[in-house]
Symmetry: D2
Subunit: 330 residues, 4 copies
């Protein structure tokens, strides 16, 4: 379903080229100061604009539709909505017959019997992440002493990110990237031993972000090539501090008080301006497709604030579950 | 919590050195043939025994405690229990004071206020996966035309697995590995667009397996270094067959009918026989720890049947949700 | 939380005197025809207007904000919003100090640390049921061959409803009532044996309606005074038809194919114009309270369409769970 | 499904005439003292034995299979199992062809395609409540300062319970009853405003008990015949104490700190020794059925300890959700 979380629950809705995109946050503690302005910093980080991101610009003005009274959350569900302003739906007309390689056009059509809104990816669009960023802003206020930082560490396989993006744009092609996230200030004891390990719930949430195809915690895939002696983290004080952090802050699925560290693989944007081959369902044969519309050459550039939001949402839920955050904000 | 799934729900319980380990399967269709013998093949694959796995041997005899009548599932919850036979709890006495590096000893103690069963990792032990394998056997019967295969593709960073394991054993050390899973015969349309993408739910389940620290779908991390043109999979027929499978069978979080392919990183076993440094809470200072007990030199050797089971459980749930599997077996 | 359902999930939001009230429906099958007009008939039944209901009039114009494309549901979450037009918040100013007897003023304040929106009951208001009615309209389209009818059978303890209401109005007092709901055309086999019996899930949903304080199925409380021989329903054909229907269509928590019949007790509206005694938290002592604002003399008059909607929502979920309704509408 | 609760979750399993019946409690705080003896008092109250209850006697010896270490809960799932000792399955052979009026024989068969365990009602049996009583014992320890008392207030429509039961036995008939439950010591603020009102979750749980057909809170059905002035409870101190308690301790779905009071209607036991008419599926026509086996003349006699357990389980979950109970017992 389109909801996530057990105590801090987010329900997403909306479409890329419909009326807009939004989120309902259910279970948010009462008393958190929120105004439309609170969201601006993170929304502007997510917004397109840097070289290599789509020329479609959206103002992203949050409308708080419920759950806030006199500038503070009330404990009732908070609804935040972002109207779509800048849509050019005509761009997508030819995709009904010809599903784009790498997109949800084909899977969405089969799953929903052809009733899905195909314009701009519809409900599958990265447009939906605008609500997630808004929920992340609320979550961060609950995680007062926690610091979450995500950054793009490589793009197109290179650490010279700017250069890689420029080259992709020149070639009318696209590139992917790796984003690393570090969380400081998390208490020991979040997560649950079997099905709801911290890795389980974080990865569950992270793979909601369109274009993510991999995740690793701590030493991750590289750790699988190390020995136990190399990979184990010696515990060096009574608070559980470890000498190294190959576990990425998580042992047995439970936070150990050290930094949570994980990395995600962002695939190259599927929409590219180079002609591609795909099944044309109207003609009944494979044919050339040239994708119109406006696209990101490197969608990974926009992922860090979204990843921070997803992480904040997930950790807030774990903090409430473990009673490390309160139902009334103080 | 210790349960997973929405319509095919598994509730795990048990401890490494308690009475045993088990699972309750709730929501299983009625009419599936099940006897104690049905489980033997997969249990024996999981069981310790190959060179490099722990000398602790458990008979792993499944007791079907509920939900089966006259050799068939009834639609009521199925409980399967495995009694522990071969426990040497004395081995773990010194771990109360000295949490093992890389283990849940420290996190478990803090989370549960010191009341956790520390013997052999207690509820955090890989022993719990015996119930998961049993549930996987049931799930596979529901997934009649689906074929799930997991194999260890490298250990200790090498594809010469036998040699790598031997070397680790000689050194009293341990190694990790990479396990790849392929699923054939899955229909188009499983998974849900945002929070419950197929990657989300599969990774959620997979990170329940102890020692897993990474997962990637299709081209995964390598794909993040490719261009869009290279990574996109051209659709070449009306059933959605693609020329390549960099997406690992999943677009927009929804299965596209091609093979689901993913890889997981298994960390080197934390328990090694080499002396390590850790905080000694009794002495109040860092001290040397030598771990007693019987361990796997390469726990990844035992992961494939567990991973297949986890995958079968997850896909069964998705099949039931999408009404591609029936509530009464035919 | 403010959501209900497992496969057909409704997330409610909004306030009586805030921007409005709405609902997100997640898991709705694709292809269902929906326009703003579809909702009018049921909304007008719920709307105030008859003698004995509040003079506050709301236009109740549904805004479909997501999940519908070219007049049909897409399979993505459907959001329906109703803006509040006719609010007089000043009426509620004195209730901050003096919680109304029988209302959520006191409990809401304690639970949310004083941050709740108290105007008109805020999120506790019956205003929220407008979204429920809208969701019920969608649900009814999925339940094509099912007929749900609720009617007020008595008010103020009398079957002469009109007269009872008039008398209550004259006295500046209020009355309650009994509403009976009958469901025809439900297949055998909905519901689950233990925790999720049909009685369990229906009553769970029904007690979401403000002012409901009792529910009974079939012969209910009266049946507890009968003998087994009197109360048992003889089965008289191979489709499970019974001679009588004291079970209200449910045996062992599972529908038996006969009509589902249940009755609910609606308490008299708490807001009355007669002076009452309550704690005045400003003065620190019990004091007289005269409630301003516009109220229903008999809120039970408005319950039938809400109860039908709640029933439709619940049964749709059960039908999808049991695969008696499809994920794509045909 | 067969599980209930969000943070204190109970998963039920077992059959009347299979190996036994049990429960898994997931989310129980660590550190609660539990031994097999802890359960004895409540189990013996539930156990058959008084005049008017079934002559089938079960020892009801609890086996704690997981989650308890050195006499205390560990925070891991607790499994408690009760082996069936005294079964006479032959008694039920004729019920395959002839479903008993008022029972789940017919609905169970249709729902599970004939694969259900029909012996003694199988998974639908009141035998399953033995696990619920055990979970209630654990819950009560978490609810340290809360007092839950249920009592049978009438049987067969009469307050002279002993006499009514005797008369039913003489007639080979059965009778129902009314059970009232009172909860003292609950804090203000449990429950949630819309779908998860306290009435919603309590009734959801209560209707899991076989034979329950009605529930009312506070003045309930009688209250629907009162005026607002009569039914409203004046608040008389700063802790929310009310003069009367027609609300049954719940306003707007939230506890108000006064006693929670509710009553349930228990139908007369369906199994009676008088001949009844029912469809005989073997003969293809309605025929006489005489039920063999051992039955309760008044199953309501055994309901009070079960209702207390159900109430304790539900309130524990609400207490944990609202952070009024701790994850580690102190």
């Amino acid at each position: 379903m389109n909801s996530f979380g057990r105590l801090f629950k987010t329900q997403i809705f909306g479409e890329s080229h419909g009326m807009g995109a939004g989120i309902v946050i259910d279970g948010c503690p009462a008393g958190i100061p929120i105004t439309e302005e609170t969201f601006e910093a993170d929304l502007s980080r997510r917004r397109a604009g840097a070289k290599g991101t789509t020329p479609r610009k959206e103002a992203d003005l949050p409308e708080i539709m419920s759950g806030v009274f006199e500038g503070k959350t009330t404990g009732a569900p908070i609804t935040i909505f972002f109207r779509n302003m800048n849509t050019r739906s005509g761009d997508y007309a030819n995709l009904v017959a010809s599903p784009r390689p790498g997109h949800a056009d084909y899977t969405g059509r089969v799953k929903y019997g052809g009733f899905n809104d195909y314009r701009g990816g519809g409900h599958f669009s990265a447009r939906l992440t605008v609500g997630v960023v808004a929920a992340g802003v609320v979550a961060k206020q609950i995680l007062k002493n926690v610091e979450i930082t995500a950054k793009l560490t490589e793009a197109g396989g290179s650490t010279n990110i700017e250069h890689a993006v420029e080259k992709a744009m020149e070639n009318l092609n696209s590139i992917g990237g790796i984003v690393e996230c570090t969380v400081k200030g998390i208490p020991v004891g979040l997560g649950e031993p079997f099905w709801d390990s911290v890795e389980s719930v974080l990865s569950h949430a992270v793979f909601a972000i369109p274009a993510i195809k991999g995740i690793e915690f701590g030493s991750g895939f590289q750790g699988s090539r190390m020995t136990g002696l190399e990979n184990n983290d010696n515990i060096i004080d009574a608070n559980g501090k470890t000498e190294t952090n190959h576990a990425g802050g998580i042992n047995g699925g439970i936070t150990n008080g050290n930094d949570i560290v994980f990395r995600i693989a962002v695939k190259p944007t599927s929409s590219i301006s180079i002609a591609q081959q795909t099944m044309n369902f109207e003609k009944g044969k494979v044919d050339e497709l040239v994708i119109q519309g406006r696209h990101d050459a490197c969608v990974a550039l926009r992922v860090p604030p979204i990843l921070e939001a997803i992480t904040a949402i997930t950790l807030t839920d774990l903090m409430l579950l473990e009673q490390k955050a309160s139902r009334v904000y103080e």
